[in-house]
């Protein structure tokens, strides 16, 4: 039998059903692989040995009952949650079991994985590079076949960007699509849980499993995601390409890869039109005010009394954002910063609303560059923040975004970002799947 750790979720489910292999064999295969690979890549913060279930890796910011959950922070070093996140309960119902918790930037604050208190995860394609962040371990785990699929969280790009930099499929669902109960909150109005998978079809399946109403999350849509759209080509699909995503910050190599992907989509029948999202340039500024304001309040519960350690155990980036957020909400600055940002957020949302009246999906790059060297941006917070310029707008508007592998630049993976209207994951996934089926990028595996 070939390496069963490389199978997609769909094929794994079928394999078990057809008794090609047992769940025990499956779990043993992954356990062995993790044993041999994890120390090189620093992906898992904790592990669990199972004999049944489909192995999933979970970002360590998602609460798992009786399994340590650290959020990548020293402050939660010995924290053992007494409850499960809603997504974990839903996965268990579907025969999935958690094999490990993955490394991430502390409290999901970072774009490289380097803000983890437990050391950075390395990129399976090149261990001198970052895998992207903040869901660094979850992206790398799928890239290195250390799980069938994984869950991450995306607040400003933390699923899509590491998916792009690590060469896997990553889906950030619409805000309100998946319950956030049990996802340690970074920015409540932006956070969403979503899957990393080996193909688009798998992302669709996982979304069907984890979506749907929750009596513990007031913002979660009652209806489960049910796919009804399958395309065989891109005829009648109108793709908007935002000119603001192709500005001077975009790396030439990445640009070339994205443009050839767009060409491919055109060949598949899509109509490509240039669109403008004029307020894109303000997105990072808006994001840093709203996100950090919510952070400052969400992280106030960590006072070391009921759980966790003292507040001086927060890392530098976490402290920086708490400080920025506290300042933005402080009397005298609230209107100039917090309210102003919330208004410009509306303008950014209106940009998307307007554009989506004329097109089906937006397509562009996920990240302006491929994976960079470890240590390159750690001393320049602003530069790090700007690396999320193409993913942040969709987060502010609450719309879904998919990253699909679309080629390589300098030997490193590049992801194609597909955005849709809020709650229209169906079209986003359908377009992604057509593109994927006519290319062979998903067959490429890193040589570790």
């Amino acid at each position: 039998m070939s390496d069963i750790t490389q199978l997609t979720l769909k094929k794994t489910v079928d394999g078990i059903k057809n008794k090609d292999f047992s769940e025990k064999e499956l779990n043993e295969a992954f356990f062995k692989k993790i044993e041999s690979q994890n120390s090189k890549l620093n992906i898992f913060l904790s592990q669990k040995i199972n004999t049944t279930g489909i192995p999933v890796a979970i970002k360590d910011i998602i609460i798992t009952k009786d399994i340590p959950t650290t959020a990548g922070s020293k402050i939660l070093e010995n924290f053992i949650p007494p409850y499960n996140a809603t997504v974990i309960e839903k996965l268990i119902e579907n025969g999935v079991s958690v094999i490990g918790k993955t490394n991430c930037d502390e409290f999901a604050m970072g774009s490289s994985g380097e803000n983890s208190a437990y050391g950075p995860t390395l990129n399976p394609w090149d261990i001198t590079k970052v895998p992207g962040g903040s869901s660094s371990g979850s992206a790398a785990a799928v890239a290195a076949d250390l799980c069938v699929f994984s869950l991450g969280t995306d607040t400003g790009g933390s699923i899509r960007q590491p998916a792009s930099l690590s060469g896997v499929v990553g889906l950030k669902p619409s805000y309100g699509r998946v319950s956030r109960y049990g996802s340690i909150a970074m920015a409540s109005s932006l956070d969403q849980i979503g899957p990393f998978t080996k193909c688009v079809e798998d992302a669709r399946l996982v979304l069907e499993w984890i979506s749907g109403g929750d009596k513990y999350d007031s913002n979660c849509k009652n209806e489960k995601f049910l796919s009804s759209k399958k395309l065989t080509n891109l005829k009648n699909i109108k793709i908007g390409v935002p000119k603001e995503y192709f500005g001077k910050g975009l790396d030439e190599g990445v640009k070339k890869v994205i443009n050839s992907a767009l060409k491919k989509m055109e060949d598949l029948g899509a109509e490509i039109v240039e669109v403008s999202l004029p307020n894109t340039k303000y997105a990072v500024a808006v994001y840093y005010i709203i996100m950090s304001s919510e952070v400052s309040s969400n992280l106030a519960r960590f006072d070391g009394i009921r759980y966790g350690k003292d507040r001086d155990k927060f890392g530098a980036e976490v402290k920086r954002r708490i400080m920025l957020g506290t300042f933005s909400l402080a009397s005298g600055y609230y209107d100039a910063y917090f309210t102003k940002a919330a208004k410009v957020r509306n303008l950014i949302k209106q940009d998307f609303d307007r554009v989506f009246q004329k097109i089906n999906v937006i397509v562009g790059p996920v990240s302006p560059t491929v994976a960079w060297n470890l240590g390159d941006k750690v001393n320049d917070p602003l530069k790090m923040y700007l690396s999320d310029a193409y993913t942040i707008p969709a987060s502010l508007a609450g719309i879904p975004g998919l990253s699909v592998p679309c080629g390589f630049s300098e030997g490193l993976p590049v992801g194609l970002q597909i955005l849709g209207k809020q709650f229209d994951e169906d079209i986003v996934l359908a377009v992604g799947e057509v593109y994927e089926s006519y290319t062979s990028w998903k067959e490429e595996k890193p040589k570790i």
Binding site: S218, C220, K221, R306, K319, L382
Partner: protein, 97 residues
């Protein structure tokens, strides 16, 4: 805008984040740079634009008043470093809020 060391100290007190003198300097410098970048928002005309704080498209999500099980006392206390007689313990606070 520039944020002074004094402002950083005031904010750190509000945020309950003890900072060393070094950190105060460092944050005053870094936050000033970030705020300078953020100040470009002043150029955006937002008159007549409503601020948005929630993009879930939901409204009136209220629940029924029906009790379901709580955690056990043991679970409630399982992650604290200091407990006594079924309660959490912290250093004395007597001053009123």
């Amino acid at each position: 805008m520039k944020i002074t060391s004094d402002q950083v100290k005031k904010v750190s007190k509000l945020a309950n984040l003890p900072l060393t003198e070094n950190q105060v300097e460092q944050y005053s410098d870094q936050l000033s740079k970030i705020l300078e970048y953020i100040d470009q928002l002043n150029r955006v005309n937002t008159s007549g634009i409503f601020p948005i704080y929630n993009v879930s498209q939901k409204k009136n999500t209220l629940r029924q008043d029906e009790v379901s099980t709580s955690l056990t006392q043991k679970e409630v206390l399982q992650n604290t470093s200091r407990k006594m007689n079924g309660q959490f313990v912290t250093k004395g606070v007597f001053e009123e809020k």
